[in-house]
Symmetry: C2
Subunit: 219 residues, 2 copies
């Protein structure tokens, strides 16, 4: 039973964090949130990841996205380790809260367990899971990476831009899309509707099937 997946509402757990106790839904409020776990404090990849998250925090903030970290270490450990993270990241401050889950209850419910890693006493450890939670408190997109593979914060930023564009317009983003590149119009929009919705125009790609479903526009 792997816990939540995309489309599921994040359970409204009460959590203890480096910035106090709160319920997850109160923290999310009606924002987008990136909820991400790391295997352990004072470990190498995690230090590079949490430092990079601190360095990218302004980019996420500009997009109205909150950050929330999690590992199974306790609050005292998190607070000591943050000094290392901030030193490594060239002084970017860790302004986001980090959950402490020493009982391994939260990582199970949130599908954040790494099957291949164990603590010194055989305890479960978190994977590098990262859920992007929408304003409706449901998981919109997930990365499930193992301890050995550090995440790519540029890819995280790219998919946030994609999700937010699709939430605003009837569009989707094609493979390898980057912000400012063209998007495609949703198949649920017919050509007459598309002319109204996208007065800037759109181009239909000519394909062997002649079905006219691949329509690019700029939003």
């Amino acid at each position: 039973m792997p816990g939540i997946t995309i489309g599921d509402t994040v359970p409204n757990l009460e959590v203890e964090t480096t910035q106090g106790r709160f319920k997850l839904h109160d923290y999310f409020a009606d924002s987008w949130t990136i909820l991400f776990s790391h295997p352990g404090d004072f470990t190498p990849v995690c230090t590079t990841e949490l430092g990079m998250m601190a360095a990218y925090a302004d980019e996420f903030s500009k997009r109205g996205v909150k950050l929330l970290g999690l590992s199974c270490d306790d609050i005292a450990s998190h607070n000591e380790w943050i000094k290392d993270v901030e030193a490594y990241s060239g002084g970017h401050k860790v302004k986001y809260p980090i959950i402490a889950d020493p009982n391994r209850e939260i990582i199970k419910q949130l599908n954040m367990v790494d099957p291949d890693e164990k603590g010194p006493n055989g305890q479960q450890l978190p994977s590098r899971a990262l859920h992007i939670v929408g304003p409706n408190k449901m998981v919109k997109l997930s990365f499930l990476y193992p301890a050995t593979t550090g995440r790519n914060m540029d890819e995280v930023l790219r998919v946030v831009d994609s999700l937010q564009k699709a939430a605003k317009h009837k569009v989707a983003t094609p493979v390898n899309w980057k912000p400012n590149e063209k998007v495609v119009i949703s198949p649920s929009v017919n050509n007459d509707q598309a002319k109204e919705m996208f007065p800037q125009g759109f181009e239909t790609t000519d394909l062997p099937s002649k079905k006219g479903y691949l329509r690019f526009t700029q939003v």
Copy 2:
């Protein structure tokens, strides 16, 4: 019940594909495999994705990685649609098989359902799920993207390189790592062992905790 997650063995389902019927484990054999779903044939993002997968196929093949697509359309539809995909991708041939799952059984078992998308008769549709399956037939890493967000094949290639490096050496890849950049030495390796394992040398980053856990090397 979202189906499989990282660490789970992919069930040995018998599948019907554009290249015949087979059991998943026979296809995987002892290779790495990328098992990926798309919401539907003759839809815009999917056409760009499967075309790009065809364009990147040689890169995956060089790394010994097999490809296996999946949607809920039938084989006749897949075969017609492949003509569009190949035309769009500038002539790159779709050489990998695509599973047909009209009964929606496989997508449920493989955690590939998109909660927000429905077919014309209210049927479930696949998400843009992508599981990287290791030679032991277990899921090592997963991307779970919704229909509106096309995947990034450069990120898929990057994590394949990371997973394969970590399978070969006692290392992990830091945040935003790219091939040929330095990797970090696993915390399970002490400094004496590291000197033997990495005769090319390694550098320990000086951090406030003085714990010496962040050690970079080149492999």
